[in-house]
């Protein structure tokens, strides 16, 4: 069998999971190369704890190179800049400034994660704006420093306003923002400063508790309880003021400007704000054999990789078409290019879209992080390994087939912490297999809050760090 080259761009949940499975299955017989701009893996779900100063950032990362050495995976610490899909190679710029390297591939997996598009909202973000983010480790550290500075002002007797939520009408990742605001609440309680702070939730969700997945419904006491009721009650319990159906338009020092579903414009003042930006695809150049731009055949306008989904359906049709969601994450024009995690272009939103009378679309984008990213990373890796060893691939899993568990902690204490645990199946409702109003399996769907969730969250941190370091038995732990 001829030596095959597989190149993976990105080493987040999707790319790193794919690298581990490919290294494991292809071993020394073939060549697997990962290009990543960071030389460490970052366990994103724990950055909410970094952002309030309750976890050391070092506990959320580990170096990639030693793991890849054990798994026979080559590692380029650098940035991929160009993809030449007709000639099957990637150009990467190593960060040690040794000059660009050409990585030829038989199969390419694009798992870059998102570009944090702070520029889409003027005044947003920690670099050129007035808000903070917890989307990268460094952003979480910056948030922590700003938050602790605010705490010192509170200790001097000042009152402050903290706003957490989404920073663009099409933002996603409401779950992470939700977890951040509940951790701030818990930390302020611990410091006996909670009464000096007004905590505000500001989001583009259709309803509170929507989380970009059209909410969750569970059976309880003979009826149906919704995440809208559950999260609304939780915010009330914690004294968090919440506003949804608002798309942030721009941020000025201390003032967030937004537009709501009815087309009204308004402002929210803040002393500290953490707003999740819009996600776009990473700015890779796709260059054809003729030297011209070939991106049209690979990515959509937002830079996400087009895969085996049915694009262009209206929302109502999409909600009735589970088969429109991709199953192999394979580009149709270049079948040796796959995408995993946030990098793939979904066929549309899961949450109900909304356009204001002013023509602004305020629609939560579908989340494709964490568990979903890991599952897709494994699936793509297994298919690529099969193509190389058997010449065909058999693995197939749509987001209408995938489960997701979301554990939103409120503090990291194993003694008096708490967490909301939410389990759903499938992530994207499938009204054909589950012909109820929710389109989900109500025997699996679950929501509860309590100390057990805090234990779950800590257990997941420990077991995932173990798994992703490829320690013995790592494959037994599900993504």
């Amino acid at each position: 069998m001829a030596l095959a080259n597989v190149v993976i761009v990105g080493a987040g949940f999707a790319g790193h999971t794919a690298a581990l499975y490919l290294g494991d299955e292809l071993g020394k017989k073939h060549k697997v190369t990962v290009v990543n701009k960071y030389d460490y893996f970052g366990y994103v779900p724990s950055w909410v704890w970094v952002g309030v100063g309750t976890m050391d950032p070092g506990k959320t990362t580990f170096p990639l190179a030693p793991v890849y050495r054990r798994k026979n995976v080559d590692f380029v610490h650098g940035v991929a800049t160009e993809v030449h899909p007709d000639e099957n190679y990637v150009l990467a710029e190593p960060l040690d400034e040794t000059g660009p390297v050409r990585l030829d591939y038989d199969y390419l997996i694009i798992a870059t994660g998102p570009k944090l598009d702070f520029g889409a909202t003027p005044g947003l973000g920690p670099q050129a704006g007035y808000t903070y983010s917890i989307c990268t480790r460094d952003h979480a550290i910056q948030s922590r420093d700003a938050y602790l500075e605010l705490v010192s002002r509170l200790e001097k007797g000042e009152s402050q306003t903290i706003v957490v939520g989404t920073g663009h009408p099409a933002a996603t990742c409401q779950g992470a923002a939700f977890e951040y605001i509940t951790n701030i609440h818990k930390d302020l309680l611990r410091r006996k400063l909670r009464d000096k702070v007004e905590l505000i939730w500001l989001s583009n969700e259709h309803e509170v508790g929507d989380f970009g997945v059209r909410g969750i419904q569970v059976r309880r006491k003979g009826g149906i309880e919704t995440s809208e009721e559950f999260i609304g009650a939780l915010f009330d319990e914690y004294g968090i003021t919440w506003f949804v159906q608002r798309g942030v338009q721009r941020v000025e020092p201390g003032v967030i400007h937004w537009e709501d579903f009815e087309g009204n414009y308004g402002t929210t003042e803040f002393d500290f704000a953490m707003l999740v930006p819009k996600f776009s695809g990473i700015s890779l150049k796709y260059i054809g054999a003729d030297g011209q731009d070939a991106s049209e055949g690979v990515v959509n306008q937002a830079g996400f990789v087009l895969v085996d989904a049915t694009y262009g359906l209206d929302y109502e049709t999409l909600t009735r078409s589970p088969e429109a969601w991709p199953g192999r994450y394979q580009n149709r024009n270049y079948p040796n290019i796959f995408a995993a995690g946030i990098a793939f272009a979904p066929p549309g939103p899961i949450s109900k879209p909304h356009v204001t009378p002013n023509g602004t679309s305020i629609t939560a984008a579908p989340p494709r992080t964490g568990m979903v990213s890991g599952i897709i990373g494994r699936l793509v890796a297994k298919n690529v390994a099969q193509m190389i060893t058997k010449g065909r691939m058999t693995h197939h899993e749509r987001m209408t087939d995938m489960p997701a568990a979301c554990i939103a902690s409120m503090g990291d204490s194993l003694w008096d912490g708490s967490a909301a645990t939410i389990v759903m199946y499938p992530v994207v409702p499938d009204p054909i297999r589950f012909p109820n109003e929710e389109g989900r399996d109500l025997f699996v769907a679950h929501m509860e809050m309590g100390l057990s969730g805090a234990w779950m969250k800590r257990m997941l941190h420990t077991t995932f760090m173990y798994k992703l370091k490829a320690r013995p038995g790592w494959k037994i732990i599900p993504e």
Binding site: L234, H396, E397, G450, W455, P478
Partner: protein, 38 residues
Amino acid sequence: MQFTDRDRFWMRNKPFQFVRFVALNLKILKAVNRSKRA
């Protein structure tokens, strides 16, 4: 919906929460097994 004193008591009750911890693990494994895990 709103949380009652009874809810708050059980959310913090450690023996009960240990049982819930085991149940939640089983719940998540059930969800994983329902999927294709191709």
